[in-house]
């Protein structure tokens, strides 16, 4: 405590000017580095715009789910049920289309709403029972997966292709006549939602309160933050985003599959963490999360194009996760 004056002035040398820029742009630079590396060593097909579009499409499912996860992690929590919720969402959408005879819009909304309900339930259990999020959502992971299997009666729900309509197009490659769109609608949806979430975190009360809770829950309580309500909001939102990710997943599969997206929650958490989110809360950003998700896809894409085996790819991705967080800690020690 007594040397605080010394360290304070010492920090003036860091943290200011270009170093601070480096700090915020760190993940983006990492992404550029990874892409550049593969652009050099991978075959020419990696550098095509077609492949860029592919990367964007492949990032979308994890990216959408990671938006909600970013909020949860900033609030100091975690949600392990995301993968199961994605599966549930696909099953609900397929069921509504095939058996309830609803249109695609109602089906999509239904899937997202069902997902949000389970997010809300997680939030209720966390705030009312005061059980830590890790345990509650670990339980919910099984509950939701079971529910999805129950709805599908342990099977995939196939949907009559005529009923799909635009649902099929969400993540499909942009056809020639629609080139002006650049990217499929699902990717654009991700971009729009990301901007909205970034603004929510930065410019709204609930956003600032989310940071405050993650930084120090007791302080937040002392300062009159409605901690329980904010947490409920955050988990519900995370569920809804997972539901939306389920919609994207459905768009690619065009079946309701209760066994899809097993372990997806770990990819989602990894995206947030690579992007600078701290599992102890109070830190994280939407931009970072998206970059984190992109880094993982770029690695996957690059490795595939180079014809590397899947197991090599997994080892590299795992190493990147640890490396990214280690670098992040190092950066923190220098600046804070």
């Amino acid at each position: 405590m007594n040397h605080s004056r010394a360290t304070l002035e010492q920090k003036d040398n860091f943290g200011s000017g270009w170093l601070r820029w480096l700090n915020t742009l760190g993940p983006v630079l990492a992404l550029a580095a990874v892409y550049g590396l593969f652009a050099l060593i991978a075959p020419a097909s990696f550098r095509t715009t077609r492949n860029l579009e592919m990367i964007a499409r492949q990032t979308t499912i994890v990216g959408v789910a990671a938006l909600g996860m970013t909020l949860v992690i900033i609030s100091g929590g975690i949600d392990l049920s995301v993968g199961s919720i994605v599966a549930l969402s696909t099953v609900v959408i397929a069921w509504l289309l095939q058996y309830a005879g609803t249109g695609p819009i109602t089906a999509a909304l239904g899937g997202v709403a069902a997902a949000a309900c389970f997010g809300f339930l997680s939030g209720m259990l966390i705030t009312r029972l005061r059980v830590v999020p890790f345990i509650v959502t670990l339980g919910m992971m099984l509950v939701v997966r079971g529910t999805a299997k129950g709805i599908g009666q342990e099977q995939k729900i196939d949907v009559n292709p005529e009923l799909l309509k635009w649902l099929e197009q969400l993540l499909a490659s942009v056809p020639k006549e629609h080139r002006w769109m650049l990217l499929p609608p699902g990717v654009w949806l991700l971009v729009v939602l990301a901007v909205a979430m970034a603004a929510l975190l930065r410019y709204t009360r609930v956003g600032r309160h989310t940071f405050a809770i993650g930084s120090n829950e007791q302080t937040a309580r002392l300062c009159g933050v409605a901690v329980e309500r904010v947490k409920l909001f955050v988990y519900t939102l995370c569920g809804a985003f997972a539901g939306l990710a389920g919609l994207m997943q459905f768009s690619r599969l065009t079946v309701g599959d209760p066994t899809v997206a097993i372990g997806l929650e770990l990819d989602v958490i990894a995206a947030v963490v690579i992007g600078g989110g701290s599992l102890s809360g109070g830190e994280g950003s939407i931009l970072g999360t998206l970059v984190g998700a992109l880094i993982m896809t770029v690695i996957a894409s690059g490795c595939t194009q180079m014809g590397l085996y899947n197991w090599v790819q997994e080892i590299i991705t795992g190493a990147i996760i640890v490396l990214a967080v280690a670098l992040d800690r190092l950066r923190h020690r220098r600046i804070a």
């Binding site: 405590m1 007594n2 040397h3 605080s4 004056r5 010394a6 360290t7 304070l8 002035e9 010492q10 920090k11 003036d12 040398n13 200011s16 930065r202 410019y203 709204t204 009360r205 956003g207 600032r208 309160h209 940071f211 405050a212 930084s215 120090n216 007791q218 302080t219 937040a220 309580r221 002392l222 300062c223 009159g224 933050v225 409605a226 109070g282 830190e283 804070a336």
Partner: protein
Amino acid sequence: MAQGRIDSADRPPRLKMDGVSKRFGATVALEDVGIEAAPGEVLALVGENGAGKSTLMKVLSGAVKADAGRMWLDGMPYRPSNPLEARRAGVAMIYQELSLTPHLSVQENIVLGMEPTTLGVVRRNEVRRRAIEALREFDNPELTPDARVSKLSVGSQQLVEIARALTTGCRVLVLDEPTSSLTQQDVERLFELIRRLKQQGKAIVYISHFIEEVKRVADRVTILRDGRVVGKSEVAAISTDEIIALMVGRQVEELYPRSARQAGEVILEIEDLAGLKKPESASLQLRRGEVVGIGGLVGAGRTELLRSLFGLEPVRRGRIRLGVYAGPASPVRRWMQGAGLLSEDRKQEGLALSMSVADNVTLTKLKGFGPFGIVLPSRQDKATHRWIERLDIRCRGPREPVSSLSGGNQQRVALARLLQHDVDVLLLDEPTRGIDVAAKAMIYQLIDTLATGSPAEGRPPKAVLMVSSYLPELTGVCDRVAVMCRGRLGPTRRIDEVDEHKLMLEATGQGVGK
């Protein structure tokens, strides 16, 4: 300046540091600092926060390497390259933040890292024997070898830590602010222990903000300011005022300013309030334009009283009226009703350390920083700038994380939150704990300004309810004082009817009652 016993004694000093300098970047943390302590001597090291005491002790314990300077233990050169080496050489540190493992037992903590083993298996009987031997020194019934450390009081935990130091056979014991979270009884026990350790010939370096304590317990005092030694003296030969003047580098006159205050309407009224365990019963009236103090020992239930008033702890019984609002309420409501609480625990509760100054100052009321419930950082910063200037918060700007500020500046940020919210009733729990004299003086000045108000400038007087364990502060700042003892709040008395002695008697349960 240094003279007396040590130089005239034949044997070398137990501890001697000479010409120690240390820079961090461009900042001089220590410049040519020298201290020494003879066997059986208590050397007090005093200075404001940032004066260099902790850095000096980190050099001594091997945690920080000095740029220049030499050290000796009993005349032998001593150059620790890490804390473990220092501990092996017989230099033990007891820090403010205790470094015990709360889940383990007392005996396990005492031998932690030095467990006697046979082929890797811990010899439990030996552990027990050592623990019992170490604990015999303390004569404290709470301290049994099998007790879980987390179940012990803070005072007893500190004793466990000292016991650990003693079993390593330390020659030099450094106590860093040892009394800051102790009850009066534990303080007395600690002083008794220090006396016995002196007789055993240990050299003790005693770091404290409390000059009264230094006067009681130390033989000699070394005063640091801005990384330099500015005074050395026998404790008996220097007055408290002289020590403080050396510490701050100027005379502290008017430490407790007191303007003419005009008590207005009753704004907070509690009657027979009881919490879950504490307080058992508290009744009090607080008027606008008044500073009311609550004295008493740590653990008497004063913090719990403020917390249950503020809705952070449940209310079991009793009436509360805050302005026009009756009954208990949540913190959310209390802020809306115009009351604010300053927590006694800055780090755990008071501040979100990883967040910025601006976020911490404005957290209670994010409305009004932009249209449609939007919070514009630029407006947050603008509001915060005002308090940075008014309270002289030393920081690089509103976006600096609070974690990098010094204790005094952190406390100013926590106070600025109440001012930014513009509350009418300020509940202050140990507002000057662990901060330097300059920050204290500023806070006293602020409390006086708030309670006096300035109707001409449209600032009505506020009401302040303040808990403090520091008696001179209570008598210096407050208009009326009440003392809490074992969960019961005594009657409030006008400040001219009490003195520190009476308050202390009442706090220890020997008061004359009503």
